[in-house]
């Protein structure tokens, strides 16, 4: 067994991925990057499981990773649906816009420099309708 590929090295790599995922989840404001950090935490744990499966010589770790994969796929589907709904309400993927959902007793984090407003799309021009207008049928 080569020294570099020993069990504890795999566990350390898994721990690093997990810690980076936590930092990304807590500190970033974009909902998508937050969700990707959660997925990276799951990858770190999966690496841990597979390393132990190899270490003990049985398949339990791999079976558990398979179930984790299933749950992660379900979670990705539902999370994306929820993110889409949140975007439709506020037109932004910023999670700081949803601070009214915070726990009671916790202060809201306010930006020191306010965010620049998103660029407004210029109003669409009104064109004259083309073609012949169909006859209006009068219904009494």
């Amino acid at each position: 067994m080569s020294a570099a590929a020993a069990l504890h090295n795999y566990l350390i790599v898994g721990a690093i991925l997990f810690a980076l995922g936590i930092v990304g989840f807590v500190a970033r404001r974009n909902l998508i990057i937050m969700f990707l950090s959660v997925e990276m935490m799951l990858q770190g744990v999966a690496l841990n499981m597979v390393a132990f499966a190899r270490f003990y010589g049985n398949l339990q770790g791999q079976v558990f990773v398979l179930f984790m994969l299933t749950v992660a796929a379900c979670e990705a589907g539902i999370a994306l649906a929820l993110i889409l709904m949140l975007y439709r309400r506020r037109r932004s993927l910023d999670v700081s816009l949803w601070q009214e959902l915070r726990e009671p007793g916790v202060e809201a984090t306010i930006d020191e420099e306010p965010l620049t407003p998103p660029p407004q799309m210029p109003p669409l021009p009104k064109l004259t309708p083309a073609g012949v207008e169909p006859k209006k049928t009068v219904r009494s």
């Binding site: 067994m1 080569s2 020294a3 570099a4 069990l7 504890h8 090295n9 795999y10 350390i12 790599v13 721990a15 690093i16 991925l17 997990f18 980076l20 995922g21 936590i22 930092v23 990304g24 807590v26 500190a27 970033r28 404001r29 974009n30 998508i32 990057i33 990707l36 997925e39 990276m40 999966a46 690496l47 597979v50 390393a51 499966a53 190899r54 003990y56 010589g57 049985n58 398949l59 339990q60 791999q62 079976v63 990773v65 398979l66 179930f67 994969l69 299933t70 992660a72 796929a73 379900c74 990705a76 589907g77 539902i78 649906a81 889409l84 709904m85 439709r88 309400r89 700081s96 965010l115």
Partner: protein
């Protein structure tokens, strides 16, 4: 200690190929055709790799592990620090690919393929679709800011430090691996003088006892007798120039160290963690597991068949529940996302 006999030919070959490749690939007005430079560079890589393997400075497994681990960590760092969410999604795909490389090194080929298909294939593409729908004007101003970065990084540092410390405390096998490596490299030599030159017996015995004390594994009399017995017999074998006898003794001591100080004697042992049945593999605390040549527990070669056997006998109910979960999640996602909302549209 006698000077090691170093074969000069591979070194000269490797150095020559490297310099020829560099010479050919140098920019000049009338270039050599590219394939000559490519061929020389490929030959140089092979020669250097062969040198490293010959000196046992590098095995394929450790090299691949280092490469995959480095890419995983760097891509993970990039994921949490990128401003553009598209770049973050691509870094995530890179994390998944390198983690799958690490899975492959751990005898899990089916999980490699499944994870690449599900994560890097389906989830990343779905995310990119979502970014296309939701953030068409590129990274917004909120993406350039982070929330309480200092506190987050400090707590993650505490978490990571604790995890790494506990892992090193319980699962670290550097010293035992060094001992075993010494024995293995000594056994490779042919003559008794070469073996004796490579392995300095008094310091080896002292190192073995020190490692044993530090680990407090099964340091019973059998272990001490084994080590001291080796020391006593060594001068005898050296006088008789008995290389085969030396190798046999070293093999015996290697087995002894593996049993007493190796994986079976780790500080954290599974208590009675038995898998549900033998379809899922050997029990975790079994003493007589099948081991391959490097001493690691042998995994089933037909990985997919073994996983299938395990899933459909031991874990049948979780499989059915996972199917139900997928169905419910699909219905839920469709129900959530197709609801018309009030407010801005």
């Amino acid at each position: 200690m006698a000077a090691a006999q170093v074969n000069r030919t591979p070194i000269v070959l490797a150095a020559g190929l490297i310099l020829i490749a560099v010479y050919v690939l140098m920019p000049r007005e009338r270039r050599y055709p590219r394939w000559i430079g490519g061929l020389a560079a490929g030959g140089a890589f092979f020669a250097v790799g062969e040198l490293l393997i010959r000196w046992q400075a590098l095995t394929v497994e450790s090299f691949l592990f280092k490469v995959f681990a480095l890419i995983a960590i760097v891509a993970g760092g990039m994921l949490v620090t990128q401003r553009n969410p598209v770049h973050a999604a691509l870094s995530f795909a890179l994390v998944v690919l390198s983690t799958c490389g690490l899975f492959l090194l751990q005898a899990a080929p089916f999980l490699t393929a499944a994870t690449i298909i599900v994560y890097a294939g389906a989830i990343v593409v779905t995310f990119l679709f979502l970014i296309m729908l939701a953030q068409q004007e590129g990274p917004s101003d909120a993406d350039y800011r982070s929330r309480e970065a200092e506190f987050t990084c400090a707590s993650a540092f505490v978490l990571l430090g604790t995890l790494v410390y506990v892992v090193q405390l319980n699962y670290d096998t550097h010293d035992v691996d060094a001992l075993l490596h010494q024995l293995e490299s000594a056994r490779k030599h042919e003559t008794a003088e070469a073996i004796d030159a490579v392995l300095d017996m008094p310091s080896f015995v002292e190192q073995a006892l020190r490692v044993a004390n530090a680990r407090s594994g099964r340091i019973d009399d059998a272990f001490k007798n084994g080590i001291f017995g080796l020391q006593l017999k060594w001068s005898d074998l050296k006088e008789k120039n008995d290389a085969a006898g030396m190798r046999a003794e070293l093999a015996r001591v290697e087995n002894l160290i593996r049993q007493s100080l190796g994986e079976a004697a780790l500080a954290v042992k599974p208590e009675r963690s038995v898998p549900l049945s033998i379809f899922s593999g050997a029990a975790s605390n079994a003493e007589d597991k099948r081991r391959d040549k490097t001493g690691q527990a042998a995994m089933p070669a037909a990985n997919v068949a073994a996983l299938g056997r395990s899933l459909f006998t031991d874990y049948l109910i979780p499989v059915e529940l996972a199917g139900t979960l997928l169905l419910v999640a699909t219905i839920g996602a469709i129900a959530i996302a197709s609801r018309p909302t009030e407010g801005l549209r």
